[in-house]
């Protein structure tokens, strides 16, 4: 299978301070890949670098075989990359529908806006019910749905998702993950997650990031057998 994203020997960080050291990650077409690791491992930093919110210092980020290191974020959205940070970053004073319309801002998506909106509403009927409500007044779970839905409005090929379970009750997290699973018939997903249980349940492959380095990777079945890794990185939470 073709790799939609390949990250090679990536180094990135903040103002002279390197966080990621030679990170290698690959996501293939229609694959769900999770990056897991303890607090401060660099998961968010990795997603930011892939989306272009921070510059990469060394190494390559290839999307669909093309090097994108020097593309600004808006150009990356244009070619099919999208990012949902754990903060969601919605427009609180705009309605649900206005938020979604802005999600289809790029020319490519704008021309197909009505179709995309219909699909997204079909996918998240809850958002359709609330389309005239201000985004800032939605519940946490609804906001997460809206953030994902807004990202889908750009007609992406790869969805970068940071801690979709943040601040949500387990049952809400579960329903969000169910939705994500449905999406994989159409696109690839790269998730950064601390919720190891969910990550193991949904992912085709998993990378373990520690101190800015990928220390292990493999299928969930291979990794979960390795109780050593689990206890070393995630305590005995499972």
């Amino acid at each position: 299978m073709e790799a939609i994203l390949s990250v090679e020997r990536l180094q990135a960080g903040y103002r002279g301070l390197n966080i990621l050291w030679d990170v290698d990650i690959e996501v293939k077409e229609r694959e769900v890949v999770s990056v897991i690791g303890p607090n401060g491992a660099g998961k968010t930093t990795l997603l930011k670098a892939i989306f272009g919110l921070i510059e990469s210092k060394e190494g390559e980020i290839k999307f669909n075989g093309v090097r994108i290191n020097d593309l600004k974020p808006h150009k990356r959205v244009d070619i099919g990359l999208t990012y949902v940070p754990s903060e969601r970053e919605l427009f609180p004073e705009l309605t649900v529908e206005e938020n979604l319309e802005l999600g289809a801002y790029t020319k490519r998506a704008r021309n197909n806006k009505d179709n995309l909106l219909e699909q997204v509403f079909e996918f998240f009927p809850r958002l359709k019910e609330r389309k005239d409500q201000l985004a800032g007044t939605l519940s946490g779970g609804e906001q997460q749905m809206l953030a994902i839905a807004r990202a889908l409005m750009s007609a992406p090929r790869l969805l970068l998702l940071d801690e979709p379970s943040t601040g949500l009750a387990p049952i809400v997290t579960l329903s969000i993950y169910e939705k994500l699973k449905e999406l994989t018939s159409e696109l690839s997903i790269l998730i950064a997650e601390q919720n190891v249980h969910q990550a193991f349940a949904i992912s085709d492959r998993i990378y373990i990031l520690e101190n800015g380095r990928t220390v292990a990777s493999g299928k969930p079945s291979e990794l979960s057998e390795d109780s050593l890794i689990k206890s070393a990185y995630f305590g005995v939470s499972e």
Partner: protein, 285 residues
């Protein structure tokens, strides 16, 4: 008394034209533009020079207004570049210093080159009367120019894709980047708009009285006061607060004189800030 009100509205519209740009630039660039009043002066001087050289008055005015817009773009693309890389308090502080420095530099150059010059636009038409009130046609045109420009701006922000992108950035810059909005380009566009709106304020002032090239910083502080009262991120707020303060200023000046009026105006502002620190209007557009 009605004449006083009309004067107040006219002045208020000029304040609104100034303040909307200030608010937009602050919202998108994170820079409180202390050189904002200089846009008015740039328009005034350019239009005054050109028309005194015999250039058609409309062409002179248009050139002046466009030049203010170009000055805005130049500021964004050169002087303020380093500011956008900063964040938080540093961004605000460095932005203040740089724009204050620019304002002082422009004031200095202008005072040296054009000592004592004032610029005004004369419309060669007799006074018109409506319902027994006499209007100077130039004031009428000034009001029309201001109202039309403000309405166009609101329409642009409400109904165009780019306008919606501006509103999006005002609410959440990162969110806007996630949507694929080119924030840098839109910020430049907003400096262009801010310069043009302020230039139009200069035209309105030139039509109704005259533009004093030394008044840059005074105009900036008026715009600041208006934006604080309106809510520093609210375009509607800037318009309403501009009108409000314009009218209060005119009425109080008429009743107790201009010097006391300024003091009373400031008291009103302090009152608003005390009771509603976020300004009268918290919503962004």
């Amino acid at each position: 008394m009605i004449e006083v009100l009309i004067d107040g509205i006219l002045f208020g519209l000029q304040l609104a034209l100034l303040a909307v740009g200030l608010v937009l630039i602050f919202g998108l660039g994170g820079v409180l533009n202390l050189a904002h009043g200089e846009f008015v002066i740039i328009t005034g001087i350019t239009a005054g020079m050109l028309s005194s050289l015999g250039v058609n008055i409309l062409i002179s005015i248009t050139t002046g207004v466009l030049l203010a817009g170009v000055a805005g773009v130049a500021m964004d693309r050169t002087l303020l570049r380093p500011v956008y890389k900063l964040s938080g308090e540093m961004e605000i502080l460095v932005g203040l210093f740089l724009t204050l420095g620019l304002a002082a530099a422009i004031d200095g150059v202008i005072a040296y080159l054009f000592p004592g010059l004032h610029f005004s636009i004369n419309v060669p038409v007799e006074a018109i009367s409506f319902f027994g009130l006499a209007f100077r046609p130039s004031s009428l045109i000034a009001g029309l120019v201001a109202v039309i420009s403000l309405l166009l701006l609101l329409f642009f922000l409400r109904n165009t894709t780019t306008g919606k992108a501006i509103r999006a950035i005002l609410q959440n810059q990162t969110g806007a980047r996630l949507c694929g909005i080119n924030v840098d380009n839109i910020r430049t566009l907003v400096f262009l708009l801010g310069g043009i709106m302020a230039g139009l304020a200069g035209v309105a002032q030139g039509l109704s009285s005259s533009v004093d090239p030394g008044a840059g910083l005074e105009l900036t502080s008026l715009a600041l006061i208006v934006s604080v009262v309106g809510g520093v991120r609210s375009v509607y707020g800037a318009i309403i607060a501009g009108l409000l303060l314009g009218i209060v200023n005119a009425v109080v000046s008429y009743l107790v004189g201009t010097y006391l009026a300024l003091i009373i105006l400031l008291v009103v502002v302090i009152g608003v800030v005390l009771f509603k620190p976020s300004g009268l209007f918290a919503r962004s557009v």
